[in-house]
């Protein structure tokens, strides 16, 4: 019997990680479906904390499972980029979040990582971003699942070439924003009883004054803010990525393998093989 490899993950660990990722995604999806189907009537009627706890624990457990599943598989070159992404998220998000604009712009770093390193890295970065940011601002912690979803969707969009044409990036952002906003709305409704910003709060109030339930009003607000916000974020990331030197862009195996960006087509097989080995050094 050969001794276990010190550098390559065994098939059993790979299977366990895949299981963790699936469980994490299922926890997030299950929590959302439960909250929407069950539409707890107690949001505005009682303490409402049962649904807040379900939203919090379901989404958080899902996000943590995703991190535990994805983080060990990332190559070191991607891992060292995650703090950079987190810093960009926090600096820009904290700045925009406190202004009177109904946007957040708190996902630039997450989307950047997703475009450069793929959906799994994007999802892990989104979830990690919320968890690390909560050291300064605990109110972002419950949105970990939504942030992970945006990272994942951005990675999927990049993989299918939506960042190759400049005008497709905002379209992809708009669609990702619709999905992300709808998933994040129950968190805002059940945990916060509203939104955490003044401008977004004004939009919710407008819908409430028309007699909507809290969840409906917040979902509509999310459908106004999030797609626009993510369209802006995806466009900004496209600007940033194309402004990076070619050498830096091509450093990432995901960009090379899936021809994520226009003008990064590499036909020689050497680039392909180094990409694979770099992707497996976790």
């Amino acid at each position: 019997m050969s001794s276990p490899s010190l550098t390559l993950p065994s098939p059993a660990t790979a299977r366990n990680r895949r299981l963790l990722e699936t469980l994490g995604a299922l926890a997030i999806a299950g929590t959302y479906i439960y909250l929407v189907l069950n539409q707890p009537a107690d949001i505005t009627g009682g303490p409402g904390s049962a649904s807040a706890l379900i939203a919090l624990s379901g989404f958080l457990v899902g996000a943590v499972l995703l991190i535990v599943g994805v983080l060990p598989t990332l190559p070191v070159s991607t891992l060292v980029l995650i703090p950079v992404a987190l810093v960009l998220n926090i600096v820009l998000g904290q700045f925009v979040g406190s202004t009177l604009v109904p946007f957040y712009l708190d996902a630039i770093g997450t989307v950047l990582i997703a475009v450069l390193a793929g959906p799994a890295a994007g999802a892990a970065t989104g979830a990690l971003s919320s968890i690390v940011w909560s050291f300064f601002n605990p109110t972002v912690l419950p949105f970990a699942a939504g942030a992970a979803l945006i990272g994942f969707l951005a990675g999927v969009a990049a993989r299918h070439g939506l960042f190759r044409r400049f005008y497709l990036a905002p379209v992809a952002g708009f669609l990702a924003g619709i999905i992300g906003g709808v998933v994040s709305a129950p968190v805002a409704a059940f945990v916060f009883g509203g939104t955490s910003g003044l401008a977004t709060g004004a939009i919710v109030s407008a819908f409430r004054s028309m007699g909507d339930t809290l969840l409906a009003a917040i979902t509509k607000q999310a459908l106004i803010s999030d797609p626009m916000d993510k369209a802006i974020v995806f466009t900004l990331v496209a600007v940033l990525v194309y402004a990076l030197p070619r050498r830096t862009r091509l450093q990432f195996p995901f960009v090379r393998r899936h021809r994520v960006l226009a003008g990064t087509a590499i036909s020689q097989p050497t680039g392909e093989s180094t990409g694979k080995s770099a992707g497996q050094d976790a």
Binding site: G45, P47, S49, L71, V76, V132, P138, G194, L240, L244
Partner: protein, 248 residues
């Protein structure tokens, strides 16, 4: 003796969970008062105050404006201005949520302001799986303060090259590219260098990692942590068992 970082994390987390689960006015206010008192006693109140104000002021104002003025479910109307109605139920809901959220935010912020980051990183990596998470956490927390000074330097350099930041949203958006691109570029470049250095030191290998820094732990603290986590789980279970207990 210093608190083990995991003990303060467990204490803050379970207090936040229990306050949310209990959803009771007196408990939320007690927790707020206790957190305020502890922050003064610990000497972090002065540093914590701006962070608390930045987070809680928009949150509480937004809740009060949203539910205080528009609460279709409310029946006891106090004042009415056109479509806006101030109702007792709306104000009650807004204040209750505000107290509950403030308690959780204060406790968690108190924890992050008193915890020692190197100790937390060492404690996390001592548990094996979390070496990568500990790296991300420590790296972000040390990068953040450096970023704002670097942004300032980039702006100065671009202004020296003739960049004029005009007022208004278009002017700012135009200036954004000239500041963001050098920032992101230098950060990505540095990350590449760091990756090579880390890889050379065996960071990516799957074997056992050891830590240079040892964090003191005691059996009592281990027990306290266990009790705190169990209490939080019990609070969640109790709330799910009786979703409307304590409703007013």
């Amino acid at each position: 003796m210093r608190l083990h970082p995991m003990t303060s994390l467990a204490a803050a987390g379970s207090t936040a969970v229990i306050t949310t689960a209990a959803a009771s006015w007196p408990l939320s206010l007690t927790v707020i008062a206790a957190a305020a008192g502890l922050s003064v006693a610990g000497g972090v109140a002065r540093r914590m105050l701006p962070a608390v104000a930045v987070i809680l002021a928009p949150l509480v104002l937004s809740l009060l404006a949203m539910h205080g003025l528009f609460f279709p479910e409310g029946t006891t109307v106090l004042v009415r201005w056109g479509p806006a109605r101030v109702t007792v139920e709306g104000l009650h809901f807004a204040l209750e949520r505000a107290a509950q959220l403030s308690a959780a935010v204060l406790v968690l912020l108190l924890c992050s302001f008193t915890i020692s980051v190197p100790d937390l990183v060492a404690a996390l990596s001592a548990r094996g799986v979390h070496a990568r998470f500990a790296f991300v956490l420590a790296s972000t927390l040390t990068l953040l303060p450096a970023i704002s000074s670097r942004l300032g330097r980039i702006r100065q350099a671009q202004e020296a090259r003739g960049l004029v930041i005009r007022p208004g949203i278009v002017g700012r958006a135009g200036a954004f590219r000239w500041q963001a691109v050098p920032l992101v570029l230098s950060l990505v470049e540095e990350a590449g260098t760091r990756a090579a250095a880390l890889q050379a030191r065996g960071f990516g290998s799957a074997g056992q990692h050891t830590s240079y820094r040892a964090v003191q732990d005691s059996p009592i603290q281990r027990w306290v942590r266990l009790v705190l986590v169990l209490a939080a789980v019990a609070a969640i279970a109790a709330r799910l068992w009786q979703p409307t207990a304590g409703a007013s």
